[in-house]
Symmetry: C2
Subunit: 328 residues, 2 copies
């Protein structure tokens, strides 16, 4: 066991679902042993403010100040700013709470001084007493462009303004090819003591693929010392939250954990699949752990986190899995 | 009387006291006949946001959404942003309410697109259904520098952060020499139908002098068709609010309406002085109206506004007063 000399774990995460598992990991691992590498391809500038939705959801969740109703934004939030903005003729389709706004104003101000997002995020996490490293995937600009039958859409236009209604035909991550992993992400993944990399049950297409699209990140994952485990975001052929299943259907993919395994082939060494999908056993070409993956309560998150890290321990010896080596 | 063809009136104003008289004028004059030219030398950038305190106080007051307790900021304000900013390590010495923030965010965003402050302000006033023109004195950058025994201080450093404690030795308005009056200000002052210019009972040294320091503004006032009336901010040798008396003492000036008349010599054609200072009668070298100048209630503001405009009517024939011509 890792009680005497805790070995670090890295999680790759998008927004709400990923943050829930990250919280489970934070609460079940020794302090300061978790690094969460977070998607920033959803980031955008709105009302002149730089907004990093997945970073903020992760920060709020791990600081235990997230709105428990939504899984994003802050608890005990007020909305005076948004009402006043509407009265002044400003845009209100992207809802910014008064407390949430502090994050965007402070980040925008610091970015304007030339400070990188990763350093700002680390400082904010420290001020909020978070005992994990929250690392934006990159300090470079990467932006998800959603190709749809209604044309190319900026991510938040697709996701918030149009509520994921347009039919998706393609996804690309502008800037990813030129982007570099944030230094702290590279350090965490390059640590020879690393015990596991956990790909959280975030949307593989919208939240995890942008991280993997950074060439340096893909290399780091391929070369890292630890097994890479993904948690499937599907339960019984449906997504727990968000447009994962809808996008899979629109991209003509079968809505199944088997497809998730195929999607992550060459990246992962093992897959965690919901117990409700146990009938799929035998259709995977890599180790699979079946367990409850729904994270309704805090206890659910902690239990899943423990199971995932234990599963990683069982795979530590099989570091070069057929699936993973096949991409090399 | 002006009921059949209303003639326009211009007010020059700083913050709280000036906004109160401006509201009185707005409520007693025909709609759209008032233009308030507002000091912008207190404007500054804070938390990355462009803040125009006197413009905002004027907007909130004339829109009837000002906080009645303070005379600035918004009524029914919340403070969630400020609390969250403090938790993130941001600066909290300048208090920004959640609703107030909408003004700063929207203004900052629009300024960044190249839109001038005067147009943004006019649009916001229109959206808030204000039937007066609120015009920043200039779209150029002017900044009050307060020379003190503790060194030169930016205005808000002196006024808010240090609560006007340092002893003032000088005042200068950086950029004023190069600044041009906002177009709408020039148009209002150049209107041959103008009935009066009212210098509100704002701080002459901090709020009105920056307006007068713009060379084009001084020329417009000298050449305008209407009498220029100032309302003294002193009552019984004291300032109603703010550091006017303290600054006058520090600058070795006698704290008296006679000194206010001397200060505005060459600019004004008449002075309105509080009835409590009636003992000063005979010490002025220009027409003086003694009346109650305290504006506690809305009725006070309306009554003073009516008296000031009536006083201006009596001076319309004496346009070239000795005091005014003496500077030419």
């Amino acid at each position: 066991m890792s009680m005497t000399h805790p070995r670090p774990i890295v999680a790759l995460s998008g927004g709400v679902g990923g943050a829930k598992l990250s919280l489970g990991l934070l609460r079940t691992l020794p302090a300061d042993s978790l690094t969460v590498i977070v998607n920033t391809a959803d980031d955008f500038t709105h009302l002149g403010l730089r907004i990093s939705p997945d970073v903020d959801t992760t920060v709020y969740t791990l600081a235990d100040i997230v709105n428990p109703e939504t899984g994003w934004g802050r608890r005990d939030e007020t909305w005076t700013f948004m009402a006043a903005t509407g009265a002044l003729g400003g845009e209100t389709w992207f809802r910014l709470g008064d407390g949430d706004l502090a994050m965007h104003v402070e980040r925008t101000r610091r970015l304007a001084t030339g400070e990188p997002l990763s350093r700002i995020t680390a400082d904010i996490a420290r001020r909020l007493s978070i005992r994990a490293n929250i690392v934006p995937m990159t300090d470079d600009a990467v932006a998800t462009i959603v190709g749809t039958t209604a044309g190319d859409l900026a991510f938040q236009d697709y996701f918030v303004r149009r509520q994921c209604a347009p039919r998706v035909t393609s996804l690309r991550f502008a800037g990813a090819e030129q982007a570099h992993p944030a230094t702290a992400a590279a350090e965490a993944l390059g640590n020879p003591e690393l015990a596991a990399v956990v790909i959280c049950p975030s949307n593989p297409y919208l939240s995890i693929d942008p991280i993997l699209a950074i060439p340096g990140m893909a290399t780091l994952l391929r070369n890292c010392a630890a097994p890479v485990i993904a948690v499937s975001p599907l339960v019984g052929g449906k997504a727990v939250k968000g447009p994962t299943a809808k996008i899979m259907a629109e991209l003509d993919l079968s809505i199944s954990a088997v497809e998730i395994a195929r999607h992550y082939r060459g990246v992962i060494d093992g897959l965690v699949v919901d117990a409700g999908d146990r009938h799929l056993a035998g259709q995977f070409d890599l180790p699979v752990l079946f367990t409850e993956t729904m994270m309704t309560t805090l206890a659910d998150r902690e239990r899943l986190a423990r199971e995932v890290t234990r599963f990683a321990e069982t795979l530590a010896g099989k570091r070069t899995s057929p699936a993973k080596s096949s991409s090399e």
